[in-house]
């Protein structure tokens, strides 16, 4: 007789779903192999490296001034912050002083860059959650920021504006007025996006309590930036170890409570407001003067090694620079914030739904250019 017992035969099958590298919600070429039971994720294996260009190795073959452009392309959403961190590393190594005005311009542009980056996040996060309008609002405002960058740096994305020892050139004459007007528009725009998305019942239902991570685990994974601050850890390099002229501004660090996706989202929204506060103060305090310390085109920093920290929109970035006294660095290592934040994905996605996977991944706000380098 045939065995008609259905023991084990009628179990639902675990399906392997290959999410990415080409998937609309992986924010680049990130691949997750998901094992799903129906809609529920049983296990997953993240795969990165599809955008690995060997940036760190490339740095070893370029002059110091050329490397700034490589950093531009690492986290292509927050170029200026990346330029800044490398320049600061070289300046620290050489003991090169940066003119005050240059520091202020750097801070203003970096914070503006942070706003642009977070705006992009708000938009794409909306898309991840299924709302299609927020990204249009966010991009409307981000475009204005990009135009501002264009006016100052001459490029919309790969600026190469922050140079070792200062910035490429002074800002346009009407910079203050234009910034003031821009900030006003941005405030309004952010409030609009906020109203549209942040407190929508459905958005709350989709993000509250999804992808919760506690502070201890987050620290163990090396998460940083808004993703860590959402767990209630007020860790921000701009406060902990103020670089540039950040100690002269009055601003707060938004921190979340539960460490869920909504907290990660809203910490960023609040951060935009704080960034704009910084920009306003910086615009008021900005002194006149030169914008770059003249230095040789082919820099030969002294032998030694240095690690500098900086606060990127995505989290804490660090550059470990080893110099042997030559015109090219001996070794450059970047601590990429997205890389560390993304590492926690396995923890975050455990036992969630496929739809949550998209939201949680979106809430980490990764940039694959930086994860893979």
């Amino acid at each position: 007789m045939v065995d008609l017992s259905t023991e084990g035969q009628l179990d639902t099958v675990q399906m392997m779903v290959n999410m990415g590298p080409q998937h609309p919600s992986t924010h680049g070429v990130f691949r997750m192999v998901l094992w799903v039971d129906g809609e529920r994720i049983v296990d997953l294996e993240p795969h990165i490296g599809y955008l690995h260009r060997g940036s760190e190795k490339l740095c070893e073959g370029e002059l110091y001034v050329q490397i700034v452009t490589l950093f531009d392309r690492m986290d292509y959403i927050s170029n200026l912050n990346n330029e800044m961190i490398f320049c600061r590393a070289v300046e620290r190594l050489m003991g090169l002083a940066v003119p005050e005005r240059a520091e202020y311009i750097r801070v203003i542009l970096c914070e503006l860059n942070r706003v642009a980056s977070h705006l992009l996040f708000c938009g794409t996060f909306g898309i991840d959650a299924g709302a299609m309008t927020p990204i249009m609002y966010a991009f409307r405002d981000r475009e204005k920021i990009q135009s501002m960058f264009e006016a100052v740096t001459g490029a919309r994305m790969m600026h190469n504006y922050i140079r070792i020892g200062g910035v490429k050139g002074d800002v346009p004459d009407d910079f203050s007025q234009r910034m003031g007007a821009l900030l006003k528009v941005l405030r309004q725009g952010i409030n609009e996006t906020d109203k549209l998305l942040s407190f929508s019942e459905i958005f709350l239902a989709r993000t509250k309590g999804i992808g919760v991570i506690d502070a201890e685990t987050a620290i163990a994974y090396g998460m940083s930036g808004p993703s860590l601050r959402a767990c209630g850890v007020p860790m921000d390099v701009r406060k902990d170890e103020p670089y540039s002229v950040y100690d002269r501004f009055d601003f707060g660090i938004p921190i979340g409570e539960k460490g869920d996706s909504w907290d990660r989202y809203y910490v960023r929204v609040e951060e935009m407001r704080q960034s704009m506060r910084i920009i306003e103060q910086a615009l008021e305090q900005m002194p006149d003067g030169p914008t770059i310390t003249p230095s040789r085109l082919v820099l030969r920093p002294p032998q030694g090694e240095v690690y500098v920290r900086g606060e990127n929109p995505r989290g804490e970035i660090g550059v470990y620079l080893v110099s042997n006294g030559a015109d090219k660095p001996y070794r450059v290592k970047v601590r990429p914030p997205s890389f560390c934040n993304l590492m926690a994905i396995k923890e975050l996605l455990k036992d969630t739904y496929i739809a949550d996977a998209v939201v949680i991944l979106g809430s980490l706000d990764i940039v694959l250019g930086e994860v893979d380098r």
């Binding site: 990165i48 490296g49 690995h52 060997g54 760190e56 190795k57 070893e60 073959g61 620290r92 190594l93 050489m94 003991g95 685990t217 620290i219 163990a220 994974y221 090396g222 998460m223 850890v233 860790m235 902990d240 170890e241 030969r300 920093p301 002294p302 032998q303 030694g304 090694e305 240095v306 690690y307 500098v308 920290r309 804490e316 660090g318 470990y320 080893v322 110099s323 042997n324 006294g325 030559a326 015109d327 090219k328 001996y330 070794r331 290592k333 601590r335 890389f339 560390c340 590492m343 923890e347 893979d372 380098r373």
Partner: protein, 170 residues
């Protein structure tokens, strides 16, 4: 081409520690005495060099000691000094807000040292990356599969003696 030799004639960068760094510099020799560390400083951080087999115990000690409490692995990387590979750990404490560098040298022929993933989960991908690019084997790592490179990639492209393949049209 990459400049291979170290330029001995170049000046040394001056050490310029902040208050926390100086405090650490005084504190560390006492705590780590049993491991006979070489305690020095990079430009802005205290650096401790230990033997590679001591890495996990030193890490555990600096993580658990309340005066240090280095609970945050900021960065893990490998520097190829040709005569040896140096594994560099940048450690940070979220409570004390201070930072130090831990270094361990391994031989380039058979580079291997114990993994620290049990202490800091975040060491996972860093160690895999270092394995990919420099061939350093981290003993006790749960999954040493290639991370950034594809399966079956030949050689260790992070090392300085890696010959870049000629550019080819695909």
């Amino acid at each position: 081409m990459v400049e291979r030799h170290r330029r001995e004639e170049a000046p040394q960068a001056p050490v310029d520690l902040d208050d926390k760094g100086r405090a650490l510099e005084l504190l560390l020799p006492g705590i780590l005495a049993e491991f006979q560390p070489e305690i020095g400083a990079t430009v802005n951080l205290v650096s401790v060099t230990v033997k590679s087999q001591d890495v996990p115990s030193v890490c555990r000690l600096v993580k658990e000691d309340p005066r240090l409490s280095f609970n945050f692995l900021m960065c893990l990387c490998v520097v190829d000094y040709e005569e040896h590979l140096q594994v560099v750990y940048h450690l940070y404490s979220t409570d004390m807000k201070h930072m130090m560098v831990l270094k361990a040298n391994v031989s380039p022929e058979e580079p291997s040292l114990p993994s620290v993933t049990s202490l800091w989960t975040g060491a996972d991908w860093y160690e895999r990356e270092s394995h990919d690019l420099f061939g350093v084997v981290f003993e006790g790592h749960p999954n040493m599969a290639p991370l950034l490179l594809y399966e079956g990639f030949e050689g260790f492209p992070g090392r300085r003696n890696y010959e870049m393949p000629e550019y080819k049209e695909w």
